[in-house]
Amino acid sequence: MIETKIAYPARQRRGAILLGASCIVIAVGALAATFGSVPIPLDALARMVVAKFPGAQIAATWTPTWETILFDIRLPRVALAALVGAALATSGATYQGLLRNPLADPYLIGVSSGAGLGATIAIVFNIGAISILAFAGALGATALIYALARAGGRTTPTTLILAGVALGAFLSAITSFLMFQNDSAFRTHQIVAWMMGSFALSSWQSVAVMLPYLGIGWVVLYLNARVLNVLQLGDTQAQQLGVPVERVTIILVAAASLITAAAVATSGIIGFVGLIVPHAVRLVWGPDHRFLLPMSALIGATFLIIADTFARTLLSPSELPVGIITAFCGAPFFLYLLRRKKETLI
């Protein structure tokens, strides 16, 4: 084996860092579940969780209400926030790397505008299946944008971004039109609330529905992490090193869009997580996607659990859209990172 001293101090200890970050996700999740209109002490929470394991002998020192709140409301909500945060951060990291554009985020290639239109149609025409239509809209818009970007010859990052911006504006116009001509203030409010993102309707069922899409998307992205590194050299060099750039681009866009669409369908459009988390990880630990992708997922999960806890407790009993919290904390933090480390890493 070759020993090399590496410029980023932590490169040899990546496994340990990822393990530590995983523990932090669990700790923050547990802590977040104690907050709320009915506070649950941390030790009671721990006992209730341990009692769930078969064979555990724990005396029930808690009320049934606590148990219902914890297992049916708070824990699924924390789990969903963690999954969505991880999904958005991973997909943001992928798009930033794939398009070599620091402003890329999970919503760049039509996912948000497509999902927004799908959800709006579901609400305005009272169809009901908001998640399903949002999911279909997200994937449909991505496929359409990819096809449009391809039509002009070879797909380059620039044509993808431009096609994404153009079609995104077009779909948003339709969404705005539907909102404007619809005369129910309640529905309009429902659309606006959905657009800003919320975990208020979380259940174990939404976690279960989301998991397969995330699983497939994550496996594909992690297996391609090394190839994503090579793509940083630019299309020509990557191709000359033997990477089938066109095919890899399709695979990565499909996987990243799939996990974003699943996230958006369950929780609406939550901004800034997918933009700032990968940047923060890249600035601290460097651009190797083999570390960047899993670390972004863990930090994204932690960040969104915390943001959602504020969203549901700050103005209790009413709830804030979590997108307001992520933007409110995310934007200043991003500016701080930029000022601290002017050497941009993408």
Partner: protein
């Protein structure tokens, strides 16, 4: 023994309606160091891209040992042909070693990580190019000459039989120019690599190459030994300037000089 041959067979390439390459015939054999010279915009870089399948010519074919290049997967091509482009941009934040390790991409399945042998090969490539001491440095902190040698090390890590270099000495000072060219010549001789180098500097080309190919407006204007190509009448035709050609005092190779007052 390396017997790989790369051959362009009457290839033509046009961007939209502007023809850049016009029926080029060219073969590079193992152990040969061929220099490609010609005025700006005469199609030199485009030829390199066609020979590495970054571009596919509209007419004619490129053959790699009897296989048509366009029918091979990028990965198969990259196992045989390595390219060093001019003034390469490298993504910031990666170490020199990580960049050189990317040269192993053609030999790995898409889901595989590099193993100890790949690292050993990358290290050997860095030692051969005197860049091993830079292994842990971030590429965005390297000088132009260091970066160029790192990219050549990456090309070596591909274990190619053909090396295509597009102005590898551009933007380098004279010391680094010589270092890079001595390195290329050594690799050419010791490993029997077939090497094609695009040059801006006619004298550097004449010093290092056994054969020169002179391009004019997308065609091969003249091909042959340096003394046949670097000649006042040929250069006048191609570059449209009067140059004085004298023999090198040590090896008699031609040197083109700007005429004095």
């Amino acid at each position: 023994m390396n017997t790989l041959q790369l051959r362009a067979d009457k290839i033509s390439f046009a961007y939209q309606d502007k023809t850049v390459l016009n029926e080029i015939d060219l073969a590079i054999k193992p152990g040969e160091l061929v220099g490609l010279i010609g005025p700006n915009g005469s199609g030199k870089s485009t030829l390199i891209k066609c020979l590495s399948r970054a571009l596919v010519p509209q007419h004619g074919r490129v053959w790699l040992n009897g296989y048509e290049l366009a029918s091979l997967a990028p990965q198969q091509i990259a196992r045989h042909i390595a390219v060093v482009s001019q003034a390469v941009e490298l993504p910031p934040g990666f170490t020199a070693f990580e960049i050189v390790l990317m040269g192993r991409v053609p030999h790995l399945a898409w889901w595989q990580n590099e193993n100890a042998r790949d690292k050993q090969i990358a290290r050997a490539a860095m030692e051969a190019t005197a860049t091993w001491s830079l292994a842990d440095r971030l590429v965005n902190h390297l000088s132009g000459g260091e970066r160029q040698r790192v990219v050549i090390a990456r090309a070596l890590a591909q274990e190619p039989q053909v090396l295509l270099l597009d102005e590898p000495t551009a933007h380098l000072d004279v010391k680094h120019q010589i270092e890079v060219m001595e390195l290329v010549r050594r690799l050419n001789r010791e490993r029997g690599l077939a090497v094609l180098v695009v040059f801006h500097d006619l004298n550097l080309a004449a010093q290092y190459c056994s054969r020169l190919v002179l391009f004019k407006e997308g065609r091969v204007y003249k091909m042959g030994a340096p003394r046949d190509v670097i000649a006042p009448d040929v250069l006048r035709e191609v570059y449209g300037v009067e140059l004085l050609v004298v023999p090198h005092p040590q090896n008699q190779r031609p040197i083109a000089l700007v005429g004095g007052m």
